[in-house]
């Protein structure tokens, strides 16, 4: 059974009092909170196993390497992939940069890279950069004005029109929470041999993606948005395609042999992990995966869906509130505005009640432009949130709005 009280016990930070009120953390889209086992494992690593990986012929080195590689296997299993298909990076942003860099060679003038209107800057700017260098074109699947999501029919038409070399879209939107119909889009684009890239930074913890089922070529994710530490992310790639990409950074660790004349690189994933990696981060992310595995996914999803529905209904009942995005297929991220009030003012007042939300354009300026707004107040829920937190939030939100009126 999904025992929310028990689960919350595992997150020490949630017991905190902020500005004389119990903390209500509704900013998990920016970074999730960390369970005790993840925090402990960082400590344990430095206290008991600290050593470099893949090098030392000594016990500590063996231990560190085994845990490091074990975490890779855990993540691979979690997303139904093979361990050698997982590359550690410093975040989803680096994963996307690695891909943009790696795929640039395959692009010619006027080739199309297709993204969606809901992308985070990290899934726009790297592609824009390689377009500038290669003469390729960046095209965008638009947001439907009424439904505020991308429509499959339009998407199919654009895929037919552009026959994109690369398609890179988010599994779920960080600003609006929309869960995008990526499975259909990936399937459809196969007829044009499009390389499919999915930005799973937001979706990973909420949707537990299955690589075999999605059948995308690449999937990027962030550890810290999925119970793990900051400074770590990952890249999944179908092995042959992944291994065929040119190296991104060079140096130690990623080589087979080096002479002053020539270097032979290691095979993937090693060839993409130059230098000493974020060892403690990787190992603690393995613990985050263990933690998620202990929670029944269906129960987690049901809990999250109930929270979303409750939040949606409560917000809709406040006159003057405008909600954005697809609130049916949604990871629990809700963006709103109140009359002409600036999101900054609302969030500043909410903070006085110990409520953490995000405001602004959420690193999606083009999306905000499509919606004709400067920004929103964003609530992003996680499975460790509760209905009573939402009740508290609504009560305090009303008080804040009264103060502004």
């Amino acid at each position: 059974m999904f025992d929310i009280d028990n689960i919350r016990q595992d997150f020490p930070i949630l017991k905190q009092v902020v500005n004389d009120n119990p903390l209500i953390y509704f900013d998990s889209g920016a970074t999730s909170q960390k369970p005790q086992c993840v925090i402990d494992s960082i400590n344990n690593f430095y206290a008991n196993s600290n050593s470099n990986v893949h090098r030392g012929i000594h016990t500590l080195g063996d231990r560190a390497t085994a845990s490091y590689e074990d975490a890779r296997s855990k993540v691979a299993k979690f997303i139904n992939a093979q361990a050698n298909e997982i590359v550690w990076t410093k975040g989803a942003t680096e994963s996307l940069n690695l891909l943009a860099h790696g795929l640039a060679n395959s692009l010619n003038t006027d080739d199309v890279i297709l993204i969606s209107a809901l992308e985070h800057h990290a899934n726009i700017v790297p592609w824009q950069q390689i377009c500038a260098n290669t003469g390729a074109l960046l095209k965008v699947i638009p947001l439907d004005e009424t439904t505020q999501k991308i429509e499959l029919d339009t998407t199919y038409q654009l895929i037919d029109l552009y026959k994109p070399k690369i398609l890179s879209i988010s599994h779920a939107s960080n600003s609006l929470g929309n869960i995008q119909p990526i499975k259909n889009i990936i399937q459809y684009s196969k007829q044009y041999q499009t390389v499919t890239v999915i930005d799973g930074a937001q979706a990973f913890m909420h949707l537990r993606p299955d690589m075999k089922e999605l059948d995308c070529d690449f999937y990027v994710f962030s550890a810290h948005k999925s119970l793990g530490p900051t400074g770590l992310g990952g890249l999944y790639g179908k092995y042959d395609l992944l291994n065929s990409l040119p190296v991104y950074q060079t140096g130690g660790e990623m080589i087979k042999s080096v002479s002053f004349d020539n270097t032979i690189f290691a095979d993937a994933p090693g060839k993409f992990e130059a230098g000493t990696p974020n060892i403690s981060g990787v190992i603690s992310f393995g613990c985050a995966i263990d933690f998620m595995n202990k929670i029944d996914f269906i129960e987690q999803k049901t809990h999250e869906e109930l929270l979303l529905l409750y939040l949606k209904v409560q917000l809709e009942n406040i006159s003057g509130i405008k909600l954005y995005g697809d609130l049916e297929r949604n990871i629990g991220t809700v963006s709103f505005n109140y009359k002409n009030e600036h999101p900054f003012d609302i969030a500043t007042l909410l903070d006085q009640y110990g409520i953490a939300v995000r405001v602004g354009n959420h690193c999606t300026q083009p999306l905000m432009k499509c919606l004709n707004i400067e920004g929103t107040v964003r609530i992003s829920l996680a499975f460790y949130n509760t209905k009573s937190e939402i009740q508290q939030f609504i009560t305090h939100l009303k008080q804040c709005l009264l103060l502004l009126d």
Binding site: E341, H342, F344, L349, Q352, G360, Q399, L403
Partner: protein
Amino acid sequence: MNDSYINLKNKIKKAGSWQEKYREIMLLGKKLPSLPSELKVESALVNGCESNVWLYINFKNEESKLRISADSDTRIVKGLVSIIIYLYSDLTASQILSIDANNEFDDMSLLKHLSPSRGNGIKAIVNEIYNQAKLMNK
């Protein structure tokens, strides 16, 4: 320090609750004249991530005293900007340099608004005023 600032500071300090304090701040913002749209331009924007602040400062007058005009698109930041204006306007460069903004904001329990992570530009405004005052003082 300006008398008007001292009065205002006492009023904010006396606020019985944070709600009252913020109401006071937002009222200050409301009273601050808005900049005309032709002055709300990119070049006058202070770097503050989630709110826009437009700032004009100079010492170009006979007594070399600071003149500030500023505006913001948020109520709270505009109120905080107004506090800054009360605090610094019509002071000479050396008077400005003798003021510790952190102390002042701390006194009013508003210190957190000077944190760089708040993205409200208040810290940037204070820094800008100090830098200009330092240049003047040379």
